[in-house]
Assembly symmetry: C2
């Protein structure tokens, strides 16, 4: 994914030594051909893995999750973020803190869309501390669905999210790995 790295170098804005703003290509505006290329790459990595559905958390993960689902030919489910904890019997709900927003939200998935027969590929745009990801993983466990693995566009390996998920024994694939944001430079692992 050299094109992706080049786009990150060109359009990424370093806001602090922890926060990289990728609004121009991932979180606010997207280039469909680049997103479809990402989806194709995730589909290639999980080909033969009998994925029945792609799942993500709204909103920034939706384009790339959709593109991956397109290439795999399976439905895509997006978990919703709720402002208030409602006790809906028909939903799995988990409360998660948000690293970038500094607030607590609830994420939910309707019970209709997850079953023990499902083998899921969880796609997201960025992983920092992984709080939302761990929330969705708990939902997947409660639904007794299988999690084939996770596909992340940008892993920030200087934060603990990806590591804690791999330590749970979950396969996590990322398209690019950022090892640091020091001295105003985006450092990639290779």
């Amino acid at each position: 994914m050299e094109r992706l790295k080049q786009q990150i170098r060109e359009h990424g804005k370093i806001l602090s030594d922890k926060v990289l703003k990728l609004d121009a290509l991932l979180n606010h505006q997207v280039e469909p051909s680049l997103i479809m290329e990402m989806g194709q790459e995730f589909a290639r990595r999980f080909q033969g893995d009998n994925i029945t559905k792609v799942i993500t958390v709204e909103s920034s993960g939706i384009p790339v999750a959709f593109a991956t689902a397109c290439h795999l030919g399976v439905p895509m489910v997006f978990a919703k973020r709720k402002k208030t904890l409602t006790t809906d019997e028909d939903c799995y709900m988990e409360r998660v803190p948000s690293f970038t927003k500094g607030i607590v939200t609830d994420i939910m998935v309707s019970k209709s869309f997850l079953s023990p027969q499902d083998r899921l590929l969880f796609i997201d745009d960025i992983i920092a501390n992984g709080d939302a990801a761990r929330g969705l993983i708990r939902i997947i466990e409660r639904a007794e669905s299988q999690l084939a693995g996770m596909g992340i566009v940008v892993e920030k390996s200087f934060q603990k999210g990806a590591q804690t998920i791999r330590e749970q024994g979950i396969r996590l694939e990322s398209l690019v790995n950022i090892t640091g944001l020091t001295d105003g430079i985006i450092h990639f692992d290779s």
Copy 2:
């Protein structure tokens, strides 16, 4: 879009005489091939209209807006919903009530992604009262971008949203038109 109507008949859940839940095909789970078909149809209707960008409001509009942008070969921008009114100099922000959620939210678009040179196609999943749509239209006006028109997957013509937008002189195309939800039946215009 007969396939879409059939899916709405099969999976739509009437919650009241005003609210139709389309979680199984539009707002929570999506079938990529059906969404790509919708995008292709919007692209066909606005072909030759010199669209430079597709725009939508997070989250449910993102898959179909992305699919439309794919077919038109242009970028897609999604307006964000914010919990608090921050005064960000770099953003256009409008406060809008939400019909389905019963709350007020702020929608925002970064000034970087809208210019007077842009000719926009605004895509959304459903139009009811049109509050969020009118908010985004105000943002587009403030940015002095041109609005070529709107593409809506499901128009509920028994609510006032689509009508008020057409009365502003804006071209609004919908894929299906629901005229009522009485007696537990979804009534289409044809």
